[in-house]
């Protein structure tokens, strides 16, 4: 019997067969292991400036700092979708179902990050008070479905770029890095779906599941544009991709990171403090 064929056939019937055999139990053990070593280092961090840690003046330089930053962004998304689903303006059926799925993931990310930060010996930052109108800028965010979807898309695309920007800091801990990558790609799946929802509503074929150039996809708003600036790159590691594909495809084929400072500038208007 051809072994490869056997596995291939099994994969076709049950695509999850190769799923995480490396169970969560093992991940916990890994965290427990590093927790012991990192606890001491994390204590000063936990005591010092806990409140402003999530969006302090300087970019996080260590794993716990990155996780606190990620937790703040997940708090933002989780509360946004919780309010969105409760707003009463989401059409029943597929739209409500999709936003509920996303809401649940964001809450799961909050729970996961909270647990990991504790495991690393630090105290998770508390949830900020959010203002999803961004000081009145998106005044109809929970009364106008299209505005709601536009804000959702911006949060998701920003989230993808924010996680990407921190990968390097997480390199020293493989377990945390892999967990962050596993969250990062889920945010990209969300972004893809929200973009498809917006495309379906507007019949605007320029709104695609991926980001073309630095185009926000039919949203004209200076605040939103910040989430897309820098996405227009067509050269990667010195290699000009327009030698192979169109400039649009070249920009779409790689998502770009955002620095901590860039992300803070984007989300600060949504945080009341």
């Amino acid at each position: 019997m051809n072994l490869y064929q056997l596995f291939s056939n099994m994969e076709k019937i049950d695509p999850d067969i190769y799923g995480r055999i490396d169970s969560r139990r093992k991940a916990i053990r890994n965290f427990a292991g590093i927790g012991g070593r990192l606890a001491l280092a994390a204590v000063p961090l936990a005591l010092g400036g806990l409140l402003n840690k999530a969006y302090s003046q300087s970019a996080p330089a260590d794993i716990t700092g990155v996780l606190q930053y990620a937790l703040t962004l997940e708090y933002l998304e989780a509360e946004f979708y919780t309010k969105a689903v409760a707003s009463g303006i989401i059409p029943a059926g597929a739209p409500t179902s999709a936003l509920t799925t996303i809401r649940d993931h964001e809450n799961q990310h909050v729970a996961f990050l909270t647990a990991v930060i504790k495991q690393l010996g630090a105290t998770p930052v508390s949830k900020p008070t959010f203002d999803f109108t961004a000081g009145g800028h998106f005044a109809t965010v929970f009364t106008n479905y299209d505005v709601l979807l536009a804000v959702a898309q911006t949060f998701e695309d920003t989230g993808v770029r924010a996680y990407k920007g921190q990968a390097g800091v997480l390199m020293s801990n493989n377990t945390v890095l892999t967990a962050a990558l596993n969250i990062h790609s889920v945010e990209a799946r969300h972004a893809s779906h929200i973009r498809q929802m917006r495309r379906a509503r507007t019949n605007d074929a320029t709104i695609k599941p991926w980001i073309t150039g630095k185009n926000p996809g039919g949203i004209t708003d200076d605040a939103v544009q910040k989430s897309y600036n820098g996405e227009e790159l067509t050269t990667q590691a010195g290699i000009d991709l327009t030698g192979f594909v169109s400039a649009s495809a070249a920009s779409e084929s790689f998502d770009e990171p955002l620095t901590y400072d860039q992300v803070i500038a984007i989300v600060q208007p949504f945080i009341k403090q």
């Binding site: 490869y4 064929q5 596995f7 291939s8 099994m10 076709k12 049950d14 695509p15 999850d16 190769y18 799923g19 995480r20 055999i21 169970s23 969560r24 139990r25 991940a27 916990i28 965290f31 427990a32 012991g36 179902s97 649940d104 799961q108 996961f112 647990a115 495991q119 993808v160 990407k164 990968a167 377990t175 890095l177 892999t178 967990a179 990558l181 596993n182 969250i183 790609s185 889920v186 990209a188 799946r189 893809s192 779906h193 074929a205 695609k208 599941p209 991926w210 990667q236 290699i239 991709l241 192979f244 594909v245 495809a249 070249a250 779409e252 084929s253 790689f254 998502d255 770009e256 990171p257």
Partner: protein, 239 residues
């Protein structure tokens, strides 16, 4: 730290999902008439073979070691995806819509960009162009094409997620991160084409809201069934 790990468990419901997956796998195997023991024997046998050292099996293409190996691994997967979508664009399935044509062509271009990027970045260290085997795919049928696309995209996401921790150079890690989110956008789109709303359903996302990460050995085993070229990842980093 033992107490801590016990205390943490209820907060990480993914474990239950992993347990359920194991159960369904057992059920599935027994339905096939293959005891889980015999599968374990096959798998561990395979592992032993991998562990034998750096001897490349005759006729196989060695992906290499270190970051070069990981880049070649990514290059191999991108070759596979690019070849698949090139064929999809050349012979569109019956009933394809204008929107599907446009977006599947976009995906083809993204995969071509990824493929050419890795080829150029690897230079003389690049593995050769691979020969694909798409005999199991009916390119005239939407179901067959989209099911394969879904398998490739979800596999690609899990491959990059799993490779992240194996990369030593920060710049390569960032490049992998730039690509994986685009693969995830593809995966969500293809899944929604098959069934709207399945972009991140619980067949792929666990109870902690997390995507999958697969080790190269597991990914290569699946990818191999679509290739006539034989890939060998025995020299790839293990951690």
């Amino acid at each position: 730290m033992k107490n801590d790990s016990i205390r943490l468990q209820p907060a990480l419901p993914g474990e239950e999902a992993a347990y359920n997956k194991t159960v369904s796998r057992k059920k599935f195997l027994s339905a096939l008439g293959i005891g889980s023991l015999s599968l374990a024997a096959i798998v561990s046998c395979n592992k032993d073979d991998d562990g034998m050292g750096s001897t490349v099996p005759p006729g196989s293409i060695d992906l290499g070691k270190g970051d070069t190996g990981i880049l070649n691994y990514a290059y191999a997967l991108e070759q596979l995806e690019a070849a698949f979508y090139t064929k999809v664009a050349q012979s569109p399935y019956s009933g394809i819509t204008a929107a599907e044509t446009a977006l599947l062509t976009d995906i083809r271009d993204h995969e071509v960009a990824h493929r050419e990027f890795f080829k150029k970045a690897l230079g003389t260290a690049a593995i050769p162009a691979l020969n694909v085997n798409f005999s199991g795919i009916d390119f005239s049928k939407r179901d067959s094409v989209l099911a394969t696309a879904k398998a490739f995209e979800d596999l690609g996401v899990s491959a990059y997620n799993g490779a992240g921790a194996l990369i030593a150079d920060k710049n390569y890690l960032l490049l992998a991160g730039k690509i994986v989110s685009v693969e995830a956008r593809h995966a969500a789109y293809i899944r929604d084409l098959i069934s709207n709303g399945s972009f991140a359903d619980n067949t792929i996302i666990d109870a902690s809201g997390m995507d999958q990460a697969k080790a190269p050995a597991d990914v290569l085993m699946i990818a191999q069934s679509f290739l006539t070229s034989k890939l060998w990842g025995g020299n790839l980093p293990k951690s």
